[in-house]
């Protein structure tokens, strides 16, 4: 297995390059591989193409509710190991909805980089140690 293949895979699902651009730099520069999807459809296809270790999921996507990615992949091997919601609102209802759908955490955009790196170490523990 090449070194490239052992690095954890992060899928960033957001339709704005303003969001995905800096996150791609952040994760790639800290030893992860990154795939970007801008819709429910492309997120599902990315998950089916290769197992995703961490999915950062915007709940509002152009083709509908971002959480439906989890609904579509439920009980399937293609379901990412960890999914974290990135939202514009962190009211109780949104948090409950995201957690009920299977999200490990719900983070409010823009997530401070230090928080994101600290969380990423929790979400991807073994892989970070070897990165």
């Amino acid at each position: 297995m090449t070194k490239e293949e052992t690095r954890p895979l992060v899928l960033i699902v957001d339709d704005s390059p303003h969001v995905t651009g800096p996150l791609r730099i952040l994760f790639e520069e800290t030893g992860r591989r990154v795939v970007v999807a801008d819709s429910i459809d492309s997120a599902v296809r990315a998950c089916e193409a290769e197992h995703v270790d961490l999915m950062l999921l915007d709940v509002t996507l152009p083709d509908g509710d971002g959480l439906s990615v989890l609904e579509i992949l439920r009980d399937r091997p293609a379901l990412p190991t960890v999914t974290v919601a990135l939202t514009g609102h962190d009211d109780d209802l949104t948090v409950q909805r995201c957690r009920a759908a299977g999200c490990r955490d719900v983070l409010l955009k823009p997530v401070p980089v230090r928080d994101l790196l600290r969380h990423a170490a929790e979400w991807l523990p073994e892989r970070v140690a070897s990165a």
């Binding site: 800096p22 730099i25 952040l26 009211d91 109780d92 823009p110």
Partner: protein
């Protein structure tokens, strides 16, 4: 406008028959109703535009802040001390701008009646602590004394936690902003029984510059400023109290103040302790 003037003149024309004057009055009335409807429609469009543009401003701001934080944290290489200082300026300015955009968005949603609360049972003391921590560094920088007191018998309130934090943040932010260095600001919460229900009374006070009695109602109105030069000196959108009032009222509570010029200010608001029917 010309048409309406002619119609009104006809209606007032004493030589015309009563029927003709009534008909002219009715025409003028219909014309006025149409104008009101058109103005309301334009106001709604403007509010919607404000909400849309505020929402769209958040995304590129997110990019600016995140890119700058990546640089600050040395992920793309170590920075010199001066580069650090400069990048910290971008982040600080970006976060402040983000807060202001958020405030305009909340105002616009409120004006368009699109603001909703998602209430649950909330411990006031936790939200006060959250807001206190957020303002800690600002309080220290201005050498203010911040006192928090929540009475032991204060029950949980039936509120939207995020919106309650917003109300407290706006009131405490103002208290800090309008209190000179060395002054005192405080947040107190007490249980209160009103005529038909139990509420919690929250007071946010300060020993600052105070507000003259004839401005007490004005400061809650949008686009109104007690002193335009004050708003330039004490930054912000000037919408904080308008938003606070709308959010308190959405909870079924009341907000008011006691203040005199030079005597500090005490803002009070109530929140219900039980689900509203």
């Amino acid at each position: 406008m010309t048409a309406r003037t002619n119609e009104s003149t006809n209606a007032l024309d004493s030589s015309a028959s009563v029927e003709a004057r009534l008909a002219a009055l009715e025409l003028a009335h219909q014309h006025a109703l149409r104008e009101i409807a058109e103005l309301k429609g334009r106001d709604t469009l403007k509010t919607q535009f404000l909400a849309n543009i505020s929402h769209d401003l958040r995304t590129p701001l997110t990019a600016i802040i995140t890119h700058a934080e990546i640089l600050r944290d040395g992920i793309l290489g170590e920075l010199s001390a001066r580069q650090h200082e400069s990048v910290a300026g971008i982040i600080g300015g970006g976060r402040r701008l983000l807060e202001m955009v958020g405030e305009i968005l909340t105002y616009a949603r409120g004006a368009a009646n699109q603001l909703e609360i998602v209430p649950s049972e909330v411990a006031v003391v936790d939200v006060i602590e959250q807001v206190r921590r957020l303002n800690e560094s600002l309080v220290a920088r201005k050498h203010l004394r911040l006192e928090v007191h929540v009475a032991a018998d204060v029950p949980r309130v039936w509120a939207d936690r995020e919106k309650l934090a917003h109300i407290l943040g706006n009131l405490l932010g103002n208290a800090i902003d309008f209190t000179p260095s060395g002054g005192r600001v405080w947040v107190h919460a007490t249980a209160r029984h009103e005529a038909d229900r139990d509420t919690v009374l929250i007071e946010v006070g300060d020993s600052g510059i105070g507000i003259a009695a004839d401005h007490h109602e004005l400061i809650f109105q949008e686009f109104a400023q007690v002193d335009a030069s004050a708003s330039r000196q004490h930054h912000g959108t000037g919408l904080g109290l308008t938003i606070a009032r709308r959010l308190v009222e959405l909870h079924g509570g009341r907000i008011w103040l006691e203040s005199e010029l030079g005597e500090g200010s005490r803002f009070f608001f109530t929140l219900p302790t039980q689900r509203q029917s």
